[in-house]
């Protein structure tokens, strides 16, 4: 069914048309037809950095490269790959820098350990400030 659709679209493209319908989709800019897949793709796009922008995810960038990466993500998700697989593929291609979700590793561990240490240290300090069990 899908292939037939694509064939039809290709045929339509060949003829100059002014009332285009059912044309080839450009997944850089268009949603996937399957809402569940689109949701997965969007969540992933929110977490992937546009490597030529300043601190923007590809889900919010007008750069051409961001569009290309959105297309790749939608196409891979539509082809049945899981978001984790697509992310791994992107990381293997562009490096860790592309993913806004840092991998857990010894080098990145301070990201979690420092806040945790603050929390524990804070509660320890707090426990010394509190009077327990003495009624006034």
């Amino acid at each position: 069914m899908r292939r037939l659709f694509a064939l039809l679209a290709a045929l339509l493209l060949a003829i100059p048309l002014h009332t285009g319908q059912a044309l080839a989709q450009d997944y850089a800019e268009e949603s996937l037809p399957n809402p569940r897949q689109e949701e997965q793709a969007l969540a992933l796009m929110d977490a992937i950095r546009c490597v030529v922008c300043q601190g923007q995810p590809i889900s919010g960038s007008n750069a051409d490269l961001a569009g290309d990466m959105r297309r790749i993500i939608r196409e891979k998700i539509a082809a049945g790959e899981s978001p984790a697989q697509v992310r791994a593929w992107l990381v293997s291609k562009y490096g860790d820098w592309v993913s806004f979700q840092p991998q857990v590793s010894p080098a990145t561990s301070p990201l979690w350990l420092v806040p945790l240490a603050t929390l524990i240290g804070g509660f320890w300090l707090l426990s010394r400030r509190i009077r327990i069990g003495r009624k006034r």
Binding site: T19, G20, E30, A47, G55, Q103, P115, T118, I130
Partner: protein, 651 residues
């Protein structure tokens, strides 16, 4: 001429800052108190001079004086006047000049209006303010002179089109007023340490200044979030971008400070911690300035290639933060922690609030700075963004909400858990009802948005409880302020959770006459219009929006093609309904005479900023209430709340 006059005024202002510091230091010595009164006019003169310098810079921008390097690099004669003027602070040098201008004005305001502070502490505070100003004047004059001349330039290079928006006129000045207003807290803390005056009376004098700066920060962040939401054209309202984080960090510290200063003012507790937070809050402002202004964000390497500015700010940071911490270490032995308290008490709740806010601050700081540190140390480039921040700061924020629900219902010093629960019964019921309703009718919602909505319902009801059974006419204004700010937090969190849980999106390519749907709306592409703007070419899509059988409305998103510098920007069409916003943008042409249209239906997204506005308004009510009480009811404010009566439990 104007540029030279501005530069001269800036040098003179720097001299006044030096004089302010010297006078303060001299007058604090025994037997030299006669010098003290002179510091007030000096602080005022400094503010006047730096304001003149800033006005001169605005004038060069307004007149498009291309012989000034800064104007030539950042302005264009064809720009509308409002963006010429706002463009003054849309660049590095201009925004730093705005920074010191606000710093000067803050110092003068303290000099003129602060009456409650002990005289010697006020003197030390103004001297500290002068010391901060001096460093930043040096930064401007030696490495970021905004008045440098250039010859032979006929036309400027223009302003980033994204900044050509009314938002630029208001957002940076507001945010800077907040950033730099925190310098007051810092200087007060230094003043109190120098003169050994960490007392409840000192806390009451400092509180209005902190509240003032915090209100500006809150407004600045909220407005900035809405600005990026409508101007970037992708429907996002917060990106965990380092520049945004730079504004969030001082806000988190300041929010903690507002709460701890209340413990110091009311119960004479948390002395050392409050001083520490005051230092931290302004340090975060300076770290934010460093992050945004040093170029370290674009790349660690660009910082290393042209390090003069970055090193300069880094040195200032080291001097001020290091100096304050050294003073803190030196004097803290003489500051005892103050009164202790029970585990179920207002103080304990406020301390946990402080702890959680601090940990959130550490999370934001780690996520923002650690990637830079790692790259600097090992060259490894990692990105830390929304997934990390949401997963770590999110649960902490939820815990904070629980404390926020209970805190105002607790009594000072000690309370009974059973009584607290009974006071919270209605709020817990509201939370349970929200949970039930969402599980039954909310569809598939993630755990975080679900908990966020439940927490919002609980906090909203619990926050109103302090007003319950009270004579509202006799309730102090600052109690209304607290209620308003806490309900505002609930409203804002509800907006964030709802946006995250219920947003519907549809990105399509549409031909004329075609209809697509998003959420409850049917959107028909009716046509295109092209027309020239003042300094861009506009393409406008005409979209007919129908909800059910209702009358169609017209929404017209635009695409702007700027030429100086060349850039394409989206002008989203946003329609606000009572239950959310419909957000439409038009993009470039797709294959087959179709146009790209992005559509979002965002239920209750407006609550995010409504809540932010309520938080700021709550701060304002609080500020007015405190100042009013200072002016009229001195007796009530000065009586330390030794025996906390029932009424005091809700202030």
């Amino acid at each position: 001429m104007i540029a030279e006059a501005g530069l001269a005024a800036l040098w003179l202002a720097a001299a006044m800052a030096l004089l302010q510091l010297a006078l303060g230091a001299l007058a604090l010595r025994p037997g030299q108190g006669g010098l003290a009164p002179a510091i007030v006019p000096v602080a005022m003169l400094q503010a006047l001079l730096v304001s003149i310098a800033f006005a001169c810079l605005i004038a060069t921008f307004a007149r498009s004086d291309m012989s000034v390097l800064l104007v030539a690099e950042n302005s264009h004669s064809a720009k509308p006047m409002i963006y010429k003027i706002a463009g003054t602070w849309g660049n590095h040098e201009g925004s730093m000049l705005l920074w010191v201008t606000i710093l000067g004005l803050a110092g003068a305001t303290i000099a003129m209006f602060e009456r409650k502070l002990r005289a010697d502490t006020k003197l030390a505070t103004l001297a500290a303010q002068g010391a901060i100003a001096l460093g930043f004047y040096a930064f401007l004059l030696f490495s970021s002179n905004p008045f440098t001349r250039i010859a032979g330039v006929i036309e400027g290079q223009g302003l980033n089109p994204l900044l050509q928006d009314p938002g630029l006129a208001f957002h940076p000045p507001t945010l800077y007023a907040g950033y730099v207003g925190m310098s007051a807290a810092f200087s007060f803390a230094v003043g109190a340490l120098v003169t050994r005056n960490v007392t409840p009376q000192f806390a009451r004098a400092m509180r209005p200044w902190i509240l003032g700066a915090w209100i500006f920060l809150t407004v600045g962040i909220t407005a900035g979030s809405y600005w990026s939401y409508y101007t970037l054209g992708w429907g996002g309202w917060w990106f965990w971008d380092p520049v945004e984080n730079a504004s969030l960090m001082p806000w988190l510290a300041a929010t903690a400070l507002i709460h701890s200063v209340t413990v110091l003012a009311t119960r004479d507790g948390l002395r050392a911690w409050t001083i520490m937070l005051a230092v931290l809050a302004f340090s975060m402002s300076m770290v934010g300035t460093f992050l945004v202004r040093s170029g370290v964000l674009t790349s660690v390497h660009s910082f290393a290639v042209d390090p003069s500015r970055g090193i300069f700010i880094l040195a200032l940071l080291a001097i001020y933060i290091g100096g304050a911490l050294a003073l803190f270490a030196l004097r803290i032995g003489t500051v005892t922690e103050g009164n202790r308290f029970d585990i179920v008490s207002r103080e304990a709740a406020l301390v946990v609030n402080n702890l959680l806010l601090t940990v959130i601050l550490v999370v934001v700081m780690a996520g923002t700075l650690y990637p830079l540190a790692l790259e600097g140390a090992s060259g490894a480039k990692i990105s830390v963004g929304a997934p990390y921040f949401n997963a770590t700061a999110g649960p902490l924020a939820l815990l904070l909400m629980m404390i926020m629900a209970a805190g105002p219902l607790l009594r000072w010093r000690a309370d009974k858990p059973k009584l607290v629960l009974s006071r919270m019964a209605l709020a817990l019921l509201a939370g349970a009802a929200a949970l039930l309703a969402l599980v039954l009718a909310g569809g598939q919602i993630g755990a975080m948005p679900l908990l966020g909505l439940v927490a919002a319902a609980t906090v909203a009801v619990a926050s109103l409880a302090p007003l319950w059974k009270r004579k509202l006419t006799r309730t102090p204004l600052f109690t209304f302020g607290m209620v308003m700010a806490h309900v505002g937090c609930a409203v804002s969190i509800a907006g964030m959770a709802s946006e995250s849980a219920f947003t519907q999106e549809n990105m399509v390519a549409m031909a004329q006459g075609e209809t697509k749907s998003v959420g409850p709306f049917a959107v028909t592409f009716a046509g295109l219009r092209e027309f020239p703007g003042p300094n861009y070419a506009a393409l406008e899509g005409v979209l007919l929006v129908k909800q059910g059988a209702g009358k169609p409305i017209i929404m017209a998103p635009q695409l702007h093609q700027f030429s100086d510098p060349p850039m394409l920007t989206n002008q989203a069409a946003i329609k606000t309904f009572w239950n959310g916003q419909l957000y439409l943008t038009i993009g470039e042409k797709a294959v087959g005479n179709r146009w790209l249209v992005r559509m979002w239906w965002k239920p209750f997204v407006t609550l995010i900023w409504l809540g932010g506005a309520m938080i700021a308004l709550g701060g304002l009510l609080s500020l007015l209430g405190r100042v009013k009480r200072d002016l009229t009811g001195k007796r009530a404010a000065d009586a330390p709340a030794r025996e906390a009566p029932a009424k005091e439990a809700a202030t």
